[in-house]
């Protein structure tokens, strides 16, 4: 199943935002578990979002309209 760049950008952005919210939540969590949640869950969401974004960039054929879905 193919997705347009706009859908991939939205998915990537949503994952990164979730990761950032988790990061913000752990900033006041004064225990080792807070660090693990920050790195293991927040970091994982952010990493997945960035990877999806980078994959979307390299998967886009040259000359194609980047925001029109499923051409």
């Amino acid at each position: 199943m193919k997705f347009a760049l706009s859908q991939r950008l939205r998915a990537a952005g949503a994952l990164i935002v979730i990761g950032l919210v988790i990061e913000g939540w752990t900033l006041h969590w004064n225990s080792p578990i807070g660090f693990l949640v920050f790195l293991g869950i927040g970091g994982l969401f952010i990493a997945c979002g960035i990877i999806i974004y980078l994959l979307a960039l390299i998967a886009l054929p040259a000359g194609r309209d980047p925001v029109t879905p499923n051409q």
């Binding site: 706009s6 952005g13 900033l27 225990s31 660090f35 979002g49």
Partner: protein, 205 residues
């Protein structure tokens, strides 16, 4: 870095990502592509970096170390009302910062010492849940005089101390770590968690 700045980075990142999510059409233009790259790659990396830095700094705090139940007796040993107890004497006389008492003595004052300390800290978390450790805990390696000398080297009480200079070899052996400060019978009253019920406690701050 102050926490408000960390939050500011997070909020700015989320706002910029929001623009890309809500209006992906902006990425058609060259400027929009740059915006998307900044929003979805550069800013998140910066946000993670500042968050990581914040967590690293906070992990130096005494309250962070003592947040594990297992460390509770070690925290109590800082308040023993007996000057022969080394950690208590350092803590109560501000020879180590109150808010970084554990870290100050238990980090390694060598290149990458902080990183190695953090790595050991991660192993502590693993051990807490999967190895069921029980006090008394043991150091991974014998305590190195280098950590004591980081502060005491050059200090008058250390350099001119009567016992330290009783024999010319003693000072050389201390500085070369051949004679341990802690286990050679001189400063051997350390955390000693097995005797915490037999001592008085200092009630100061």
């Amino acid at each position: 870095m102050p926490i408000w700045l960390t939050y500011a980075v997070l909020i700015i990142t989320i706002v910029v990502i929001g623009i890309v999510i809500l209006a992906p059409g902006v990425t058609i233009s060259r400027g929009g592509k740059i915006l998307a790259f900044v929003a979805l790659f550069i800013f998140p990396l910066i946000a993670v970096s500042v968050g990581y830095e914040h967590h690293m700094e906070r992990s130096k705090q005494t309250s962070f170390c003592l947040s594990c139940h297992l460390m509770e007796p070690y925290g109590r040993s800082l308040r023993v009302d007996d000057s022969s107890w080394l950690p208590a004497q350092h803590y109560q006389n501000h020879r180590v910062p109150h808010d970084e008492a554990c870290y100050t003595c238990h980090t390694g004052y060598v290149m990458y010492g902080t990183i190695k300390s953090k790595w050991r800290g991660l192993h502590h978390v693993y051990a807490q849940y999967f190895e069921n450790p029980k006090p008394p805990l043991h150091l991974y390696h014998p305590y190195n005089n280098r950590e004591c000398l980081h502060c005491h080297l050059g200090a008058r009480t250390f350099e001119q101390g009567t016992t330290h200079n009783a024999d010319p070899e003693i000072m050389a052996d201390i500085k070369s770590n051949k004679m341990s400060c802690l286990t050679s019978g001189c400063h051997d009253q350390v955390h000693n968690t097995s005797k915490l019920n037999e001592v008085k406690y200092w009630e100061g701050k």
